[in-house]
């Protein structure tokens, strides 16, 4: 399987097969990340779409100073936060609960985890998803979010305490 960096350099050269592989690798992850942030499937789909288009157009500008995943989630984050800024101005679409697609499949604990995640402030929820679901290090998250590493650790500490309270 091709490494992310190889795929990005092929995408920069206009290789559609590499682009499709990158899409298969990241589109769901970007969608779920955006969905946990925005809690709106329509907006999450827009974020995924804009992110993939930006990858196609900007692959040539990827300098390799970070992981490809950090670069991609940085693009997705910018898109998602543009929607969050609209929320501040009262222009945003309504939030949906974080629920599983098929209630019959909804394992009780997973439903409770999603419900607890949804109750976290967005900045803490984002750190939890990036760290636990995406497996990003605290340094990568700090770089992605543009905040000090101590802030990332502090958000995680607060989030973990709330999740634990909600899940016990």
């Amino acid at each position: 399987m091709a490494e992310d960096r190889e795929l990005i350099s092929r995408v920069a050269a206009g290789d559609e097969v590499a682009f499709r592989q990158l899409y298969e690798r990241y589109a769901d992850r970007v969608f779920r990340y955006a969905f946990t942030l925005l809690r709106n499937r329509h907006l999450a789909e827009e974020v995924a779409q804009e992110t993939m288009v930006a990858i196609w157009r900007g692959a040539g500008s990827f300098k390799g100073g970070s992981q490809v995943s950090t670069w991609i989630f940085g693009i997705a984050r910018n898109q998602a936060h543009a929607f969050l800024r609209r929320e501040v101005r009262g222009e945003r679409e309504p939030e949906e609960p974080l629920t599983l697609p098929d209630p019959a499949e909804a394992v009780e604990r997973e439903g409770r985890v999603l419900s607890a995640l949804a109750k976290l402030p967005p900045d803490q929820r984002e750190v939890v998803v990036l760290a636990f679901y995406e497996g990003l290090s605290y340094r990568e998250i700090a770089r992605l979010l543009g905040v000090p590493e101590g802030t990332v650790k502090s958000r995680m500490h607060l989030a973990k305490r709330k999740l634990r309270e909600a899940l016990t």
Binding site: G14, R20, D28, R32, M52, L98, V129, Y133, S137, K153
Partner: protein
Amino acid sequence: MNCQEVRELIPWYAAGSLPPEEAGALAGHVAECTACRMELAQTVRLVWGVREAVQRLPGVPAETWGKVLARTRGIPVGRLDLGSFLLGISVGLSVREGRVPLTGELRVLGRRVPLFEIEGGAR
């Protein structure tokens, strides 16, 4: 590394993203500290709980790829392939965001190498 420093790093250790030097120091502490060992066990359960729950959320809709393709490669309206699977050249016309670029590709062993794009070619 003291207990407070370890507690700060446990989430990343549990998620497998702590750099090796910090992971080694943390593991050494946890081996000797019962309280931190319990904290680690609880956090590992939390990491897996979040991972499995988020993984079960719906993925990107199936039609999104088509939308992305229409905005990047464009919707093909005509294509001329010359040569064989081993070596050939393709010239295609597509519609992309209101423009109709003409593109040329070299085909080598099934792999496509872009050669040119005329009109609206700036990516």
